[in-house]
Symmetry: C3
Subunit: 351 residues, 3 copies
Amino acid sequence: MGDEAKGRAVEELAALVGGEVDGDAGLLITSLAGLETATAGQLSFFGNPKYKKQLAATRASAVLVPLEAPPRQGPTFIKVKNPHLAFARIATALQPPRAYAPGVAAGAFVQAGAGVDPTATVMAGATVQRGASVGPRAVLYPGVFVGEGARIGADTLLYPNVYVADRCLVGARCVLHAGAVVGADGFGFAFDPEGPAHVKIPQVGIARLEDDVELGANSCVDRATTGETVVGRGAKIDNLVQVGHNSTVGPLAILCAQVGLAGSTEIGTGAVLAGQVGAAGHLRIGDLAKVGAQAGVIADVDDGAVVLGTPSMPHKGFMRSSSFFQKLPELARTLRELEKRLSALEKGRTS
Amino acid sequence: MGDEAKGRAVEELAALVGGEVDGDAGLLITSLAGLETATAGQLSFFGNPKYKKQLAATRASAVLVPLEAPPRQGPTFIKVKNPHLAFARIATALQPPRAYAPGVAAGAFVQAGAGVDPTATVMAGATVQRGASVGPRAVLYPGVFVGEGARIGADTLLYPNVYVADRCLVGARCVLHAGAVVGADGFGFAFDPEGPAHVKIPQVGIARLEDDVELGANSCVDRATTGETVVGRGAKIDNLVQVGHNSTVGPLAILCAQVGLAGSTEIGTGAVLAGQVGAAGHLRIGDLAKVGAQAGVIADVDDGAVVLGTPSMPHKGFMRSSSFFQKLPELARTLRELEKRLSALEKGRTS
Amino acid sequence: MGDEAKGRAVEELAALVGGEVDGDAGLLITSLAGLETATAGQLSFFGNPKYKKQLAATRASAVLVPLEAPPRQGPTFIKVKNPHLAFARIATALQPPRAYAPGVAAGAFVQAGAGVDPTATVMAGATVQRGASVGPRAVLYPGVFVGEGARIGADTLLYPNVYVADRCLVGARCVLHAGAVVGADGFGFAFDPEGPAHVKIPQVGIARLEDDVELGANSCVDRATTGETVVGRGAKIDNLVQVGHNSTVGPLAILCAQVGLAGSTEIGTGAVLAGQVGAAGHLRIGDLAKVGAQAGVIADVDDGAVVLGTPSMPHKGFMRSSSFFQKLPELARTLRELEKRLSALEKGRTS
């Protein structure tokens, strides 16, 4: 929050996002906040008509609003096409990237034969094994482990206790949150009835994260049995997510918290899986498909489809069926009554 | 279990919980156990009438029982209003708190400008960054990371590999189990169609745990986009739980394992969310509400309500509807038959 | 992947698994791959008739096939009873176990009074507390914590940041993946209305993993309130799984990713719980039972039963009911129409 003390003029921030000022262009903005909590000197944003009341009541100095916003009453408006995106850009501008002292700290365990770029930061308590490489300006917090032959791209941030297993690949500008695990063994066993025992299938493939991937705290991307488990460019994965071995998460896909992909699951470009969704293996969820929270996917999902439920079905059908699910006892009662009335009629006819 | 060897008299333990002894008040109790596994010298408890048989068969020396317990047959009884609570209090008395050697161990990474109370314990391999503070008698196990400006309250216990991010606040007498993550970035992105890219929204808020909070192993409480994510006083959170950014967990609330709160979710005082419950964002689950296991909450839940199902509905309605769900094929068959019979009747009438 | 460069003859590999060669027995195999990605020098396997096309198109040099395989067209066949198991055995043979330098590394924190076998490997940044023991050839990666009095069996592998709490027991030949937590406190509290407060019940039992157990990344096995939480011999547990206190997972059971067992849950020998299954406490899932993904188990499941759904029911019934669930709006409409037609008939009769 370095620049907060100083602040930046509304005019300057508007220029940054191609916005138009309606109100006092010279106001100084020091930080951002939601409509309800913002105070003087803060910029907020209004993107959803649902929050009209909060807009009317806000004490923010300025608000990012869409072009079609209601007439201004209190705070200064910055009118933009996409207030949410503008908020992100301004927040980034107001929040200068944290500066890290480059170099390998005393107390870090960097093995001989590891290649750490001199501009990278390796904190005390982090480990880099031989044959691994750490790119320019990458940051390794304490407890991070980068295994033999693994590679960490430029400007990538590994928070405390992140594990990147041997030979696994993490692209540039990635963010791996605390406790994330990349490249633990896929869950593969063959049953030997004569043991009896589950015989482990060596997992000799790798996990590969492309550029600009974010991986949430304590999330896991398993290494492949053979070949690769892949998380595509710009995909964003929340906390406590499981990506099974040999799965492919498409570029720009979004996996919300606690999602689980069984293995050899294919997620299309820009697909969105809401919280706690589970997807079976050996299936494909199409490009730009949306899977609602807690859905259980057991068959392919078409590109652009919106599904929900376990097993998953079209979203609208699920919501409609759910409303009838609640009325099932009533429907059953009606059915029993109809049967009685029908029997009475039949009796009357034959009598 | 330090006092076990010595033991304490039934009389003394009864006094501790305001109980009345029925039987041998001088018996020595050295430890606690369940009705089925207890042996001589052990105290057990009987709270649920379902376990009458186990009570009759137990080999425990003494049993905590409710005031309205069945007549005593074998072991000595300690009669109390709330056997479960009495069990907790006696277990605590028999289990003296573990003693930790105060001080910062060699091999710990405490940065200059960090404030560690001299009575706190910082083990080798733990990190405390500048500007952070660690309160009296707090304990940091190896692999713990306390970020810049974060604060850890008195008597708080951070098990191995717990991460408390910069500026986040943890109250007094909290217990954070291994791998818990406090203050990783909230999951916030704005889509830029021109990238195309998901643009990260800097998460400049914090996460704050009030006093007496317990946070389970590998659970995550994300920091807020702006403002705070809060876990209220005395709330207890089990393992692998996700608390999304800007959520508020009320005082004394209970979140069982693998619960997920999407973000800006509000959980009331004393509410209980059973295992694997998911709650969408921007909604409120009321005070003392109970949400059954695996439920998916997508709308506000009233104070004191008991709900179940996805989407969640009143508990009784769900159980009734579920029983009919199993009979759906039968209901559909009956419906088809009625239709045939009805058609036959209609035909007969018009013929 | 040490032997890959050299390779082994098809003949030799066939002998290893009691297979019969159909084709060129002298071909050199250097590694394994799936049917679709395999190239020259690689061995693949064909176990599921569903993949006939892939078998016809594969560029693998050789393929493990079942005895009843279709006639050979391209690659050499190794005919075996169980191709999947043979694949596992050959993969193991081609993948020599990783060699670890024995000894306690500088930078490891081994307390006085800990017993570390001289053939074990304790890497820098790992902790072994007093009274703990580490068996022959066991491997502790950085960030591993073995608490007071805990025991780690021979040939067991503890990946980075694994936590084994005080007094807990891990058998021989176990594999605990990164971030796994063994023996964090069970989730037990008694409510004191006078606080009001949830009073912690000390969790004085332990967690015990028998031999040949695999525990996934960031999975948690809680310690018992009193007594033991047990994971039986040869059981395999995937990532992000929660095993509640006092639960028993039977030998050879399989718990897929994100499964949750509430506590005092009993899982039979060889039972399989698919991804995201939840099981309530104080119930038993029988030997060799199969529980489908996302099911919610709230009552005992018989030995060998196959169940699905929340609450769980027989698998076939669930699938049938689910297909009717999707037709609920239609069924309700039919019901309304029948009622109208019936009323018309009734009216006609009485008129």
